[in-house]
């Protein structure tokens, strides 16, 4: 597979957009090539242009793409169509939407076997089941007869991978195939892809924004920025000695699992990716580059080979080595608060939230027996004043519902929430204004949490007015001060949300939350829809604001590394209950709860040399309607002790430093098991 000097242009009303420029790379048979870039870098456009699947207003301006000697771009589209699904296959981002909801999964695989392998109906059906078996789906015959809504995302993605591999393609394009999945499922799928591809001679183009995923999977990596390839090389070389400041910066953005805010500061990248019609004259990265020279701004450098197979578009790459050493240092010293002196800000006791399921119709209405979803099922947690409590777990574990119960957005079914030792009414409506002010929330999606008709200034001022008896000037002053604190220019006050980028919107959301001078901030996956570089700068911002203002955070996320970085205390949630609570560094080292252990081993770490333990969870989180008896985790637990796990609810086991694990296995035994498996992992 050879791409050379490929340029793609979109014709828009405001003129042509040169989205991809002059990109060249090659993928050998059986090689996995990781293409890494942030959103808007043109990586998906690049992939679609290679297979002539651009939208109507897109066209390839220049360059060539050859597959096995055959020029793809000059092929008439009818010929190209013949390659789709046979020699070139694709796996897409979100398996839930990539599978047709009204056709059985097996048939959706079999139809390709008929169209592409010329199989008869019966044979194609058998082939589909065989492929499902190959991607390690338990009970493939049963799965083949099911519809998309009956299967989990991981299952569906496996089925799509099975479809893509069935024709033994020459090129497989995978576009963020694990982004929509949970971290544990992602780990399983990555293992599967790596193991499966060993037996194929397929060239794989793996597109992702996640550096950790590439480190785990790819042989070589290309880093794409604003439509141009800026660095390329073997994964090991690029990660260990990056030769482009952008790569270096990207690597510095990713929080690591063995350090937190006290030790390092994330390296955020200033500014944002330039639009293709607003490119700087010189190096495209120069405006954001901390090491930019005057020469960088005059002439645009091209990708040059600087070592065996290692190319970079930075002429000053030799300087980067020096920069590497200084990477993880704090600009400002982090002053840790003393935990013992801090009072409790939030105390939740035995919080439960059960939802009655809709449906069941009249009969269920009369008999009163409706299935109940136990989203949160008895959680007790405490947050200290000025500290951050991180709440982690897979999707569907109830962590968001818990946060919403604390905020009063959901009315808890049982239990109580105390703020500064005062019990709060369950519903937000019943809470006095003063209390409402004290708890603020930052939501996952700033698109929908900011009123599109209010200007940024109004949004912040409204929230500032909550603290009551502030004069107009004071409100004005606070608004300006907050805009400054979240690093937005003052003239943004007059802008409407749609005029801002995703990161800027979230900055406004944070500013507006802080405008009310809260005592506690609930952050529900606040940055999971943002790019790593933006995420890093916002996490730094949160840390800084906490330092200055002493606000306590409850930080909800599925991203363990992010939680590890930002939180002082971490609570791990599984199926509506906590299974481990402790200080960040305690939770992340043995002994840990088997679930935490599995989560940790699933994190894709952007370090190709690091060999993590391989603990994989089978299946998906059980339904919260039919909660497993005994220990809720026993159906998936790799360290299940015996029948006791199925029958008896495990007790909380206290360790030093208020570290608690809810498991039947004694902590010492856990530690021994887990340290042993750490050593046993392959070098």
């Amino acid at each position: 597979m050879q791409v050379s000097k490929l340029s793609v242009t979109y014709d828009t009303k405001s003129g042509p957009l040169h989205t991809v420029r002059n990109v060249s790379f090659a993928i050998a048979r059986g090689e996995i090539y990781g293409l890494v870039g942030e959103s808007g870098s043109g990586k998906t456009t690049l992939a679609y242009s290679m297979i002539q699947y651009l939208p109507r207003n897109g066209r390839v301006r220049n360059g060539s793409v050859t597959l096995d000697g055959q020029d793809l771009l000059t092929l008439p589209s009818s010929q190209m169509r013949k390659l789709w699904g046979s020699e070139i296959t694709m796996v897409h981002q979100d398996p839930a939407t990539a599978v047709n909801p009204s056709i059985r999964v097996g048939e959706q695989i079999a139809e390709v076997a008929r169209a592409r392998l010329g199989m008869s109906r019966g044979k194609a059906r058998d082939k589909a089941v065989e492929m499902l078996e190959q991607v390690q789906i338990p009970d493939p015959l049963d799965v083949a007869g099911r519809y998309a809504h009956q299967l989990s995302g991981g299952m569906l993605q496996r089925a799509l991978i099975a479809t893509a591999l069935m024709t033994n393609p020459k090129l497989l394009i995978m576009d963020e195939p694990t982004t929509a999945l949970d971290v544990t499922t992602q780990a399983v799928i990555l293992d599967l892809v790596r193991d499966l591809l060993r037996d194929y001679q397929t060239a794989v183009l793996y597109i992702t924004h996640n550096l950790g995923v590439v480190a785990r999977l790819a042989d070589r990596v290309g880093v794409i920025y604003a439509g141009e390839l800026v660095e390329e090389g073997l994964v090991h070389e690029v990660y260990k000695s990056p030769r482009h400041p952008y790569t270096l910066a990207l690597l510095g953005c990713v929080p690591s699992i063995d350090a937190d805010k006290r030790q390092i500061e994330l390296r955020a990248i200033q500014g944002q990716i330039p639009r293709p019609d607003e490119l700087p004259e010189g190096c495209i990265f120069a405006p954001r580059c901390p090491m930019a020279q005057p020469a960088c701004r005059r002439k645009r450098p091209t990708l040059e080979e600087t070592g065996a197979g290692h190319s970079t578009a930075c002429p000053f790459w030799r300087k980067i080595k020096e920069e590497l050493g200084t990477q993880h240092h704090h600009k400002k010293m982090f002053t840790a608060r003393e935990a013992d002196k801090a009072g409790l800000i939030l105390e939740g006791q035995d919080i439960k939230k059960h939802f009655a399921m809709s449906g069941g119709g009249l009969a269920a209405l009369f008999s009163g027996r409706r299935p109940v979803v136990k989203a949160v099922d008895g959680v007790s947690l405490r947050v200290r004043d000025g500290f951050t409590m991180g709440l982690v777990g897979e999707s569907g574990c109830g962590k968001t519902t818990l946060a919403r119960c604390i905020a009063g957005l959901e009315k808890a079914t049982a239990g109580y929430v105390k703020l500064e030792n005062e019990e709060l009414p369950k519903s937000l409506m019943d809470r006095p204004r003063e209390t409402r002010r004290k708890i603020q929330m930052v939501f996952q999606n700033p698109e929908s949490s900011l009123n599109p008709h209010h200007t940024v200034g109004d949004i912040i001022r409204r929230s500032a007015a909550l603290s009551g008896n502030l004069s107009k000037e004071q409100i004005e002053k606070r608004t300006e001060e907050l805009l400054e604190a979240v690093r937005l220019p003052l003239d943004y006050q007059r802008r409407l949300p749609h005029e801002l980028s995703g990161g800027e919107k979230q900055r406004v959301a944070i500013a507006s939350a802080f405008a009310a001078q809260p005592r506690l901030m609930l952050c529900d996956e606040p940055f999971s829809s943002l790019d790593v570089s933006v995420q890093a700068s916002l996490m730094n911002l949160l840390v800084e604001l906490q330092q200055d203002r002493g606000t306590a955070y409850l930080y909800v996320s599925h991203d363990l590394a992010a939680v590890r970085y930002i939180a002082d205390w971490i609570a791990v949630v599984y199926l509506g209950q906590l299974c481990e609570v402790g200080a960040g560094e305690d939770v992340f080292r043995p002994p840990y709860h088997p679930y935490t252990e599995a989560l940790l081993s699933a994190i894709p770490v952007p370090d190709p040399d690091l060999h993590q333990k391989r603990i994989r969870l089978g299946g998906s989180v059980p339904s919260a309607v039919d909660v497993p008896s005994g220990c809720r985790f026993h159906t998936r637990c790799p360290r299940k002790k015996g029948p006791i796990c199925e029958v008896e609810e495990p007790p909380w086991q206290e360790l030093e430093n208020q570290h608690r694990i809810r498991c039947h296995i004694p902590p010492d035994e856990l530690r021994e098991l887990q340290e042993k498996s750490l050593e046993a992992s392959p070098p």
Binding site: R81, S86, S102, H149, A363
Partner: protein, 319 residues
């Protein structure tokens, strides 16, 4: 599955029962004294009282209602007050005519509407799409009698291809009636067409943008197969529901069209009955319309559940 079915049928029956009560109250109770109405304004008090007794109007309301309902269910629909013939055969014959007209209209506008809707969706925002969108809007907005009169002026008067008068004889067979039914059916079709085109177009556009359609293309399936199997199967769901729902309207709601063409359908019979204060006939027609609406809603409901695996599996429990 039986649970689901019986529940839906139960809903339908409850709905019909409520409608029948409304009909009963509106026709039998509200207008005042039926006996007086039958005998005329100057009838003697004694005669009125006698007739009242004879008709059972002196009994409590609910007894009257139950009696009336049983009569209707057992097929005893009474004698038309004005024509002095039994209401049942008359209404059923008109129902048959209306059913024929509805069927012919469906045959005319459903395939065409779906075709045009999909055609427009595939060429979203092209001049053809814009034309179809504008055209369908115009026809749905235009009153039926205007369309009907235009059709008569063009095809009956100017071109003389088809008869302007559609008063089909009571014993006419389907084949000989068809020429006379074409113009009214075309009128109805033009109105219905607009709905179908717009419905099909918008849902097809939605589905065309779905990830699974892109996947189907890139899996290498032939274009036609992608369109029929992956797109239409999902896109036509709402359209099919709308079509099933429209059966009620086609049978009981074509008063204007039937009047313009003089077509002997249920709508025109109802109009006649209302103009002549023929309460018996009004009741019979109204009840039949209620039943057709109920049944067509039920059919729409069931079709949607059967065609959508999500609901089918939930409700029927079998795959």
């Amino acid at each position: 599955m039986w649970m689901f079915l019986s529940r839906r049928i139960g809903f339908m029956l409850v709905g019909m029962l409520l409608a029948s009560m409304i009909i009963f109250v509106l026709t039998q109770v509200m207008p005042g004294d039926v006996a007086k109405m039958i005998l005329g304004r100057w009838a003697k008090e004694e005669a009125v009282n006698n007739l009242r007794k004879k008709l059972g109007l002196d009994r409590p309301l609910y007894v009257q209602y139950l009696d009336w309902l049983t009569d209707f269910i057992t097929g005893n629909w009474g004698i038309s007050l004005t024509t002095r013939v039994p209401a049942r055969p008359l209404v059923l014959q008109r129902l048959r005519n209306s059913g024929r007209l509805a069927a012919l209209s469906l045959v005319m506008f459903v395939p065409l509407g779906i075709f045009l809707g999909v055609f427009a969706a595939l060429r979203e925002d092209s001049p053809i799409d814009r034309f179809l969108r504008g055209g369908s809007m115009a026809f749905t907005g235009m009153p039926e009698f205007v369309i009907g009169l235009i059709l008569i002026a063009v095809f009956a008067l100017a071109l003389d291809w088809l008869p302007a008068n559609s008063s089909v004889g009571p014993d006419a067979g389907l084949v000989e009636a068809i020429p006379q039914m074409i113009l009214p059916a075309a009128t109805v079709s033009l109105v219905g067409l607009g709905y179908i085109v717009r419905m099909t177009r918008s849902s097809t556009i939605d589905v065309l943008k779905a990830d699974y359609v892109r996947v189907a293309h890139l899996k290498g399936l032939p274009r036609g197969q992608v369109l029929i199997k992956h797109v239409l199967r999902n896109a036509l769901l709402p359209t099919i529901t709308v079509i099933a729902l429209s059966i009620g309207w086609l049978i009981g709601g074509l008063v204007v069209t039937e009047s313009v063409f003089g077509y002997p359908g249920l709508g025109r019979l109802m109009l006649y009955a209302i103009q002549r204060h023929d309460l018996v006939l009004i009741q019979a027609c109204a009840m039949i319309v209620v039943v057709t609406y109920g049944v067509s809603n039920l059919v729409a409901d069931l079709l949607y559940s059967v065609l959508n695996p999500r609901i089918r599996l939930q409700q029927f429990g079998v795959s």
